[in-house]
């Protein structure tokens, strides 16, 4: 069978269960694809080829013995390098963790292993998930498979690019302010940020603990539902995990949106969004209307404070979370200092962290420091309440909200690095969902000058089935998600 890497998870899963293809063939096809395009895309920090083949052989063995396996068994996936993988180094694309190998699996990894999914490797990201372009990786930038001169978005740029380029059938990323949805939008993939607490954060290297959430990338809403089914659920190892039953996400895909109420927040349709992005989103709204959805305007009046509140809360939590990198327990340690323990730690951190991470630690430490706490941190936590109330009011009237995911299509590598705040504004439409803890999904919504446009759907707490249902119905009426990038092939150089 030609080009197995073009299959969706759902398609491949059926072929595997009917034993028309083997897990080894499917995995090999993806490893070959990685070999072909990785020289250009550079989505992976680590490729775990031998282990992937070994896992695939096990799946084939079990199936040959007649063991019933789930839909993800034998499906090759890529994992963002911020998710702990036992025995496989987990770098967060940072010098400070370049040689760190976790002694345990994150809960999501444990669940994927139980589902017998195949891990192809660990994907590149903005260092410690701080960024919107994957240019902040300490190792190398990842390129957008749709245009190699452009960024794939971030921080989960490697996970998005791997799926867009056919290097993996699906992947996991993490979303603190849009880090799954925005790269999803820029690479024509389906990207879901679950409700805060729906997916365990145990083993996710912490950036901003009250905002971080793991979510899947896939090439269809149905595939995203399959991945969600595997990773969602209560975990006693995460004290912020929601103890509520996990619905059947694929059963929610009725293909029907008739009578669903979809709100259009006027604050998300303002100047600053590229005309091509706006046109694609408006077209998507028309499509949903034609499918029977009832669309109406709504207001989220505190949207204008979202970015500011986020860039206080996230850096504040990051400055506390990243205090653990002291060169003592694990990670990089400076060789160039004599002096006190404090001098040694300060030097280790200065050498181990990149510029964006230092900027955020400084911003957060400032916002938390004596004399500024009330004006910044406490104020931001109050604004968060206001943003949450905005959404509560909107979801009283609507089942879901629709907006652009990102104000622009993929931008050029290097275009925004000089101005940190311009980079921060990439997340203006995604940040409020993290602050309010609600779920959000980005789906392929068409193209602007040949580059993908993402349409964002926002849902209330635990509203994932509704978002997946709308996205699935949209995908039955459109074929944007079926378009794949014509990524030029180039073999990768020497492995890092």
């Amino acid at each position: 069978m030609a080009e197995l890497w073009r299959l969706t998870i759902s398609e491949a899963s059926e072929l595997l269960q009917r034993r028309e293809i083997s897990a080894v063939e499917l995995t090999r096809a993806h490893l070959d694809r990685i070999e072909q395009v990785e020289g250009n895309v550079r989505a992976f920090v680590t490729v775990t080829e031998a282990e992937a083949i070994r896992q695939a052989e096990q799946v084939d063995q079990l199936r040959s013995e007649g063991v019933e396996l789930g839909p993800l068994a034998g499906i090759p996936l890529a994992i963002k390098d911020v998710i702990s993988t036992k025995g496989v180094r987990t770098t967060c694309s940072s010098r400070i963790l370049e040689h760190y190998t976790p002694p345990y699996d994150a809960t999501v990894m444990k669940r994927l292993r139980e589902a017998r999914a195949i891990m192809l490797g660990k994907t590149n990201m903005d260092e410690f998930a701080m960024g919107s372009s994957t240019e902040n990786s300490a190792f190398f930038p990842t390129r957008n498979p749709w245009d190699l001169e452009r960024v794939p978005g971030g921080s989960s740029g490697g996970s998005a690019a791997a799926v867009a380029a056919g290097e993996a059938m699906g992947s996991l990323g993490s979303d603190t302010g849009g880090s799954v949805r925005q790269p999803g939008a820029l690479t024509n993939t389906v990207a879901l940020k679950p409700t805060y607490g729906r997916v365990s954060r145990f083993g996710l290297v912490a950036f901003a603990s009250s905002l971080d959430q793991i979510g899947p990338f896939a090439r269809s809403a149905r595939d995203a539902a399959l991945l969600m089914q595997a990773i969602a659920g209560y975990d006693p190892l995460d004290s912020t995990s929601i103890n509520a039953p996990v619905p059947n996400y694929t059963e929610a895909l009725t293909g029907d949106v008739k009578g669903l109420r979809i709100g259009v927040p006027s604050e998300y349709f303002v100047e600053g969004t590229e005309p091509g992005v706006r046109a694609a989103v408006e077209q998507a709204i028309e499509t949903l209307k034609s499918l029977g959805a009832e669309v109406g305007e709504c207001s989220l009046p505190h949207t204008r404070y979202g970015v500011a509140a986020y860039y206080i809360i996230a850096p504040a939590e990051c400055s506390a979370n990243l205090a653990r990198y002291d060169g003592v327990k694990y990670g990089f340690s400076s060789k160039h200092v004599s002096g006190s323990l404090i001098d040694y730690m300060s030097e280790t951190r200065a050498e181990g962290f990149g510029p964006e991470v230092k900027r955020r630690i400084m911003l957060g430490a400032y916002a938390l420091s004596s004399g500024y706490y009330d004006a910044y941190y406490l104020k931001a936590e109050k604004v968060r309440t206001l943003i949450k109330r905005d959404f509560d009011a909107a979801f009283d009237r609507f089942d879901a909200l629709i907006s652009p995911t990102s104000p622009s299509v993929a931008f050029k590598i290097g275009e925004k690095v000089a101005d940190p705040y311009a980079m921060y504004l990439n997340d203006v439409f995604t940040i409020p969902a993290n602050l309010a803890g609600i779920c959000g999904l980005s789906m392929p919504g068409g193209f602007s000058d040949g580059l993908p446009v993402g349409v964002q759907l926002l849902g209330p707490s635990l509203g994932e089935p509704m978002l997946l249902r709308i996205a699935d119905a949209f995908q039955q009426a459109t074929d944007h998600h079926k378009q794949m990038a014509a990524t030029p092939t180039k073999k990768k150089g020497r492995a890092r």
Partner: protein, 97 residues
């Protein structure tokens, strides 16, 4: 709002970051610029609004007082930059100055 060099030095010390002179100057400029944007937050009317540290309606989460298997010492020390006799090796905390 602009930040002065002393504030940068103070925060860098709090954050345990041994920054170069050049980095300090760049951060002073960048943080000042970022704060100028962030200060929009002062305009939000938050009188009578409670802070949300977290959006979940949960209080303390207790775990049962039961022993569970733990990691072997070697596993946890495997990533340590320096170790000795089953301990992390660190610099002296109290110098004999």
């Amino acid at each position: 709002m602009s930040i002065d060099r002393e504030t940068v030095d103070h925060v860098a010390r709090l954050a345990r970051l041994a920054l170069s002179d050049e980095e300090r100057e760049r951060l002073r400029e960048q943080l000042s610029a970022i704060l100028e944007h962030i200060n929009v937050i002062a305009e939000a009317d938050t009188s009578d609004v409670a802070a949300s540290a977290n959006i979940l309606p949960m209080q303390n989460v207790m775990t049962g007082d039961r022993s569970r298997p733990s990691f072997a010492t070697e596993e946890l020390l495997a990533n340590a930059p320096a170790q000795e006799d089953g301990y992390f090796r660190v610099r002296a905390v109290m110098d004999e100055e």
